[in-house]
């Protein structure tokens, strides 16, 4: 019993952490690129980036299944390396990354666009490269938005169900994350096990919200929130 409780917890932890790291960098890179990009395609690209947020998760999951399935373009690509993505642990990460990307992208972009262009320009006239401007000026100034987005990403990754079920399935000890395990436990009448998992999710969610609230309250007073180089 303890083993079957710990397995979904362990899988979810791995998935959530890996997803958050990947989404963090992907979302920030896309946000930074779009904040400076101007072309007639801008709103189209923006729409594609945000699409997973408005589509039903099962639709996104089905799309991923087509992409990564045996005959899908990416599925064929991975089959060259004798790897199958569908119904494996990496599939839980892929589903969660796709579903959380819009959150990270939107908040980070809003944060970057709020940064006074004059402040970034001041850094440029002082001899800073674009890379240095981004990491020493833009990021620290957009930091509150980025942190909030990261917490949202974490929470959303933990709760991801629909797309994960479609592409990763429910393989106990392999792909069954907490939300998927809860669903199948209830289906099978194991309400007690489901309840323990629900309790775990509640604790994790509550703690992360509390940490965010504490940090938000503390933040305005500790201005040097990102240590300068």
């Amino acid at each position: 019993m303890t083993e079957s409780i710990l397995a979904p917890l362990w899988i979810s932890c791995k998935t959530v952490l890996t997803t958050t790291v990947i989404t963090f960098f992907l979302g920030i890179a896309a946000a930074r690129w779009m904040a400076h990009y101007s072309s007639k395609w801008k709103s189209l690209i923006d729409g594609i980036f945000i699409l997973p947020l408005v589509l039903p998760p099962t639709v996104v999951g089905f799309g991923l299944l087509l992409l990564f399935g045996k005959n899908g373009p990416l599925g064929e690509f991975f089959s060259w390396f004798n790897t199958t993505i569908v119904f494996s642990w990496p599939a839980t990460v892929i589903a969660a990354v796709v579903m959380t990307f819009p959150l990270m992208y939107m908040s980070a972009r809003a944060g970057f666009e709020q940064v006074d262009i004059n402040v970034e320009n001041a850094a440029r006239t002082l001899g800073a490269s674009e890379w240095r401007v981004f990491w020493t000026v833009t990021m620290p100034m957009a930091w509150p938005s980025v942190v909030a987005a990261t917490v949202l990403t974490l929470a959303r990754a933990l709760g991801e169900f629909g797309a994960t079920l479609m592409i990763a399935g429910n393989i106990p000890g392999k792909t069954a994350t907490i939300p998927v395990a809860i669903y199948f436990d209830i289906q099978a009448g194991h309400n007690d096990r489901a309840l323990i998992l629900v309790g775990i999710v509640l604790v994790i969610s509550f703690v992360s919200l509390a940490v965010l609230a504490y940090w938000k309250r503390k933040m305005p007073r500790t201005t040097g929130f990102l240590v300068s180089e």
Binding site: D116, N118, V119, N121, A122, A123, R124, T125, L126, G127, A128, S129, T136, V137, P140, M141, W143, T223, G224, F225, L226, S228, E229
Partner: protein, 359 residues
């Protein structure tokens, strides 16, 4: 040495400017929206002009014909932004050190404290920008721009957000800047007195063009056109016809005043008899006298506005001419004769203080 020739078209606005300075302070004067800030941004490389050539000392920063376009970070141009644009998350010290922290640590430290002393912000090093007054933020911004020893310093309306006392102190400090910064300085302003105090040259902007760029006394003494005259505080502008020219003295018939006006200016030789010209005089140069005479006209006070130290009187010339405008006279309270509205008196326009403009 700074040479600037730039062109940029935007919907509804064209910037087309051309000027050069040689290790001096140039004030760019003009109304808002005349392209002053855009000029600074082009020089710093923050925006790209469509066409142009910018050379700073021996370095070509931009040459659109040859495809040269240096990045802002290698131009060595210091920029003090209108809103100061300090890094809000860095302390004053780290703000100033931002442009020089490739240098050894102790060198950075000495340079930062030196600059903080020069800009009168010593002791504020560990504060964050939002803990500073506007005047202190402005000083930090200046120190930060000076730290990497730029070859050119650009100041965008440096005093616009300050109250008048702080502004006056900072103006004085900026004048002292030349004691420790030997480079070109370009500063944008819409305030003539500010520009005149600090700069040696003034470039007058009007809708994206430089209408006059010269030494400040030349710009004040012989404005190139009505716009320059108006922008530089020549409030009384009238039309007239030249009747005679002898040496440096011209006599101009001014219908609005109902009489002839004597003008003594070295540049009257550039004009011809019967030419229609615009003449102007600053309100502070006009006197009230108690007897008729040359360049003296009987006028009726129409409106009197009392300021703290000056009294501004708006007169109408007492004649039958219907096309008349107010003649504005600024008098020092201490020696102003008692004038009330409706009062008639003699107004004297000194011939050496009248400017004469071609158009």
């Amino acid at each position: 040495m700074l040479e600037v020739r730039i062109k940029k078209s935007l919907p509804g606005f064209n910037l087309d400017v051309n000027f050069s300075i040689n290790q001096e302070i140039l004030a760019i004067l003009g109304p808002s929206g005349s392209g002053k800030t855009m000029t600074l941004q082009c020089i710093a490389g923050l925006i790209q002009p469509d066409k142009g050539y910018i050379k700073l000392n021996d370095k070509v920063l931009l040459d659109s014909a040859k495809g040269i376009k240096l990045k802002p970070r290698v131009r060595r141009v210091g920029f003090v932004f209108q809103n100061y644009a300090l890094f809000p998350h860095l302390t004053v010290e780290d703000n100033i050190a931002y442009g020089i922290n490739h240098l050894p640590k102790d060198e950075v430290k000495t340079r930062v404290s030196e600059l903080m002393a020069k800009t009168h912000i010593a002791g504020l090093g560990s504060r964050f920008p939002r803990q500073l007054s506007a005047g202190q933020q402005q000083r930090v911004s200046l120190a930060r721009a000076l730290a990497p020893e730029p070859e050119l310093l650009l100041l965008d309306e440096p005093f616009s957000a300050l109250d008048s006392q702080v502004k006056e102190r900072l103006e004085l400090e900026l004048m002292n800047l030349q004691n420790y910064y030997k480079g070109n300085i370009l500063f944008v302003t819409h305030d003539l007195t500010e520009g005149y105090k600090i700069a040696s040259k003034i470039a007058v902007y009007e809708s994206g063009r430089v209408v006059q760029c010269d030494y400040k006394n030349k710009v004040i003494g012989s404005p190139a056109n009505r716009t320059v005259a108006r922008l530089t505080g020549v409030r009384n502008i009238m039309q007239g016809t030249i009747e005679s020219i002898k040496g440096s003295t011209a006599r101009v018939m001014v219908p609005e005043l109902g009489g002839k006006l004597k003008i003594t200016k070295d540049d009257v030789a550039n004009f011809t008899v019967n030419q229609i010209v615009t003449i102007g005089i600053r309100p502070e140069y006009i006197h009230i006298v108690d007897h008729p005479g040359e360049n003296t006209f009987l006028c009726k006070a129409d409106r009197i506005v009392e300021g703290v130290s000056l009294i501004n009187c708006f007169f109408y010339a007492s004649n039958k001419n219907t096309e008349r405008h107010w003649i504005e006279v600024s008098l020092h309270k201490a020696h102003a004769p008692l004038i009330t509205e409706g009062h008639e008196c003699y107004v004297y326009l000194p011939p050496e203080h009248i400017v004469i403009i071609k158009d």
